[in-house]
């Protein structure tokens, strides 16, 4: 079942058209990834879905309900939470306070959810009385994900969870994302620059370029595409010259 469907979305920053008609579908229980270079419009898409930006045109439906142009808190209450790019934890609040803020839109059951989050991220439990600003980058990312979970979302949007993390921590975070998806049934929409790990984790993917979807399909198919391999997975053909400065033209097949 499709939980989120985005149709012909156009979003502007002033006169700049950041999304030029994006249509995507997210099915229940899936991890969907959106790949794209800097400035492709990935974060804009997330922000528009989360209600932080209003689209100029297009429709967003969540479980059959139109959610475009709703206030962000209403969207969270409907079950979509955003784990923003750069983590954005409250540095002077404790970890526990940060987590509780994640449950701000609902009442009851917080203690149980806290345990769930601590179950996935034991380090947060250990340091729950400390200010969040004292956490390392990876721990802050865990906190941001945990805070998102506290809203009991059915759809979680993760904006570049690997940003600024070591390769090892990135793997750890993605393992947890995959577990949350499998064990808790949380549908995930994942924006990522690290295309390899994103495609390994996700079930389906979209490629966004210049505000348009240029390719979509199951991750396996995307991984096999020559364009993805060259432009996102950094494959270098072993040429005799050893280096290659020019890029082939993208065809997106």
């Amino acid at each position: 079942m499709t939980v989120l469907s985005v149709r012909n979305l156009e979003t502007f920053y002033g006169a700049i058209m950041a999304l030029r008609g994006v249509s995507i579908d997210v099915d229940e229980g899936e991890i969907v990834t959106i790949l794209g270079a800097n400035g492709a419009g990935k974060t804009t898409l997330m922000k528009t879905i989360a209600g932080l930006m209003d689209p100029e045109k297009g429709a967003i439906t969540y479980k059959g309900e139109t959610i475009a142009r709703l206030a962000p808190d209403r969207i969270v209450a409907k079950g979509i939470s955003l784990v923003p790019e750069g983590r954005e934890v409250f540095p002077y609040l404790t970890i526990e306070e940060n987590l509780k803020l994640g449950a701000f839109t609902r009442h009851g059951g917080q203690a149980q959810d806290l345990e769930l989050v601590y179950g996935y991220f034991p380090i947060l439990k250990e340091r729950r009385k400390q200010a969040a600003g004292f956490l390392s980058g990876g721990q802050q990312q865990m906190l941001a994900i945990g805070r998102g979970l506290m809203a009991r979302p059915t759809l979680m949007m993760l904006d570049e969870p690997s940003l600024g993390l070591s390769p090892l921590l990135t793997q750890e975070i993605f393992a947890i994302i995959a577990r949350l998806n499998a064990e808790q049934g949380v549908t995930m929409l994942l924006v990522e620059q690290n295309a390899r790990i994103a495609l390994d984790t996700a079930h389906t993917g979209y490629v966004l370029e210049m505000g348009r979807i240029v390719m979509s399909g199951p991750s396996e198919r995307l991984k096999a595409s020559d364009d993805i391999q060259e432009f996102y997975l950094g494959r270098t053909e072993a040429t005799e010259r050893g280096q290659k400065r020019w890029k082939r033209r993208k065809t997106w097949r």
Partner: protein, 608 residues
């Protein structure tokens, strides 16, 4: 190599010169420091003189002699359009070698085929990207002894005994012991000697190299100057591949005759911007370009506000009426003056046709409606006909006497006739090429014993001598019912829609006609977006029901213009975005019938 025997008798000279290279040397000496070429360097237009042209070509020519390049030996150039292309072209021609171009979209295997077929020992390549093609396939082309690279970017650490850079080659030429060898060689070139080797894109079988002589090209210049007006201070824009006879004629040979300035477009993607910057005085394009301009304007119209739309529609209506009227009334003249001042003039300036005295279309059929439309906005578009084997142009309309729907009258000196048995168009005159390189049997199939060229086209010759091409012989569709249908007319009608970039009508030995359609990505995306039709990638765009319906309407509309047996009963959209690298497309982005039939056989079978 077999020469065509007829029409080789009398001497043809332009300004007293019987070879292109003699004419070139004379013009370089005469114009000296005048601007000859303009090209962008880091985004800024730079000028290069006729003296640069001659001096650079001379150095390259001397170096080629030093490398042992002999008279009558092909030399290949694999590069986008740029002035070095011309330097190498004239350098090789001046020492009696035969320059030939390779499309930058060709694969390594295709390059190897051309290298082996021509037997070239020297290959010029533009940059690291093109060099990689030689590296990839050099085992298959052992005959290539020297590869000369124009650009050093990305190759600072690369060295190979067979590879050198253009500046190194020019140093060899500058250090030549006897620099007069170049002029000697140049004067030894005879009118009957090959001037260039043009590989035809080969819709059937592998490409063939057509040999065009100096006499062929000098004839084109004399005849062209009789029919068309050129001025010394004209600006031209060079953007079609120089490997193609049309661009070679327009951007290399013609400027020698009339001294105009050639501006090189930065890349195929920036043609429309460069067009606006240069605003050329005359311009030769292929139908695809004109279709693109038209659909850009129509899209702009649909995005304009209601006032802008009405102003545009009104001006276009006035322009159309003015273009149709033989003797316009005073009222219409005034209205046209106003429309031109307020709308049409601005439109031309925006498109880059503000200075255009004449723009031409060739290489493929163009729909008459499109010519009328350009006429209405004040851009004098004329259609001509020609092929590689006619050394460029065979017939052309003139701005003063434009018979829309025909491809014009033959150049003075060119004779046309129709084969009595088959209706095939035959062309005679000094424009007929010398033959295919190393393929006497193909030459014999193409040139009749008495010197007529079999064009493979079917046409009509009007009483006023104007030619109408109705289609290609081998494209004729004979349906299962036994009806002969020429698909070109149906296809060009379909392509007039801004949503269709090319179409191939199918139906040979089938019960009815069907069609494969390549949609115009930009315009159809715009259409889908405006109507909130969801799509993600190109394939999903072609599958959208509304897009299918849109194209269905175009097909239905086209059907109204044709007889019962010529109705298209079904169609399919090609769901992959084809690029010039794909074998289904010619370098001018036209679908190749045979390849399409093979590659998309499954889609075709679905329709029957």
């Amino acid at each position: 190599m077999e020469m065509s025997r007829a029409f080789t008798g009398d001497v043809i000279a332009f300004d007293g010169h019987t070879t292109i290279v003699a004419l070139w040397a004379d013009r370089c000496a005469r114009y000296g420091d005048r601007v000859c070429h303009r090209e962008k360097l880091l985004g800024i237009w730079q000028a290069y003189s006729w003296r640069d042209y001659y001096d650079s070509a001379k150095r390259i020519g001397l170096a080629l002699i030093a490398l042992g390049v002999k008279r009558g030996e092909p030399v290949l150039i694999l590069s986008e359009d740029r002035r070095e292309w011309l330097y190498c072209d004239l350098a090789a021609a001046a020492i009696g070698a035969i320059p030939g171009g390779v499309y930058t979209t060709d694969s390594a295997a295709q390059l190897a085929y051309l290298a082996n077929d021509s037997g070239a020992r020297v290959l010029f390549v533009e940059n690291d990207e093109q060099l990689d093609k030689w590296i990839a396939a050099r085992g298959e082309m052992p005959g290539v002894e020297h590869v000369v690279v124009f650009d050093r970017d990305g190759l600072a650490e690369y060295s190979h005994p067979r590879v050198m850079f253009l500046d190194e080659l020019m140093k060899i030429g500058a250090a030549a012991a006897d620099p007069d060898r170049f002029e000697q060689a140049l004067h030894e070139v005879q009118p009957e000697d090959p001037r260039m080797l043009i590989y035809t894109s080969g819709t059937t079988g592998p490409p063939k190299g057509a040999v065009l002589t100096h006499r062929n090209m000098i004839f084109q210049l004399t005849a062209g100057c009789e029919m068309l007006e050129f001025r010394e201070d004209d600006n031209l824009l060079c953007f079609l591949p120089l490997c193609h006879v049309l661009e070679r004629l327009v951007s290399v040979e013609a400027p020698l005759a009339n001294g105009c300035i050639v501006n090189f477009a930065e890349s195929p993607e920036t043609v429309f911007d460069n067009l606006r910057e240069v605003s050329p005085d005359s311009f030769a394009g292929v139908p695809r370009i004109w279709e693109k301009v038209y659909s850009r304007v129509m899209i702009m119209r649909s995005e304009a506000g209601p006032l802008g739309q009405r102003a545009f529609d009104w001006a276009l209506r006035i322009g159309m009426a003015r273009a149709r009227a033989d003797r316009p009334s005073a009222g219409l003249k005034i209205a046209h003056r106003i429309a031109d001042l307020l709308v049409l003039g601005n439109l031309r300036r925006m498109l880059g046709f503000a200075n255009a005295r004449r723009v031409t279309s060739g290489a493929a059929p163009i729909s008459p409606e499109l010519i009328d439309w350009f006429d209405a906005i004040g851009v004098p578009l004329v259609e001509g006909f020609g092929m590689t084997e006619t050394s460029g142009v065979a017939t052309v309309n003139t701005v003063e006497n434009n018979h829309v729907g025909t491809v014009g009258a033959p150049l003075p000196g060119v004779t046309l006739k129709l084969d009595e048995a088959t209706g095939e168009l035959l062309v005679g005159g000094p424009t007929v090429f010398a033959g295919y390189w190393n393929k006497p049997e193909k030459t014999a199939e193409t040139i009749t014993p008495d010197g007529w060229l079999r064009t493979g086209d079917i046409g009509r010759i009007g009483n006023d001598g104007h030619l109408t091409i109705t289609g290609r012989m081998k494209d004729i569709i004979i349906t299962a019912g036994g009806k002969n249908i020429t698909p070109a007319e149906i296809e060009s009608k379909l392509k007039f829609s801004p949503y269709i970039s090319d179409a191939v009508v199918i139906g040979d030995r089938r019960k009815y006609l069907t069609c494969l359609i390549m949609i115009d990505q930009e315009n159809v995306e715009q259409f889908a977006q405006n109507r909130a039709i969801p799509f993600s990638d190109f394939a999903s765009l072609t599958r959208a029901a509304e897009v299918q319906a849109l194209i269905g309407e175009v097909v239905a509309e086209t059907n109204r213009h044709f007889a019962n047996v010529e109705q298209i009963k079904d169609f399919r959209l090609i769901d992959i975005l084809l690029t010039a690298e794909d074998e289904e497309l010619t370098p001018t982005m036209k679908l190749k019938r045979n390849f399409v039939n093979q590659r998309h056989g499954a889609l075709i079978d679905e329709m029957y």
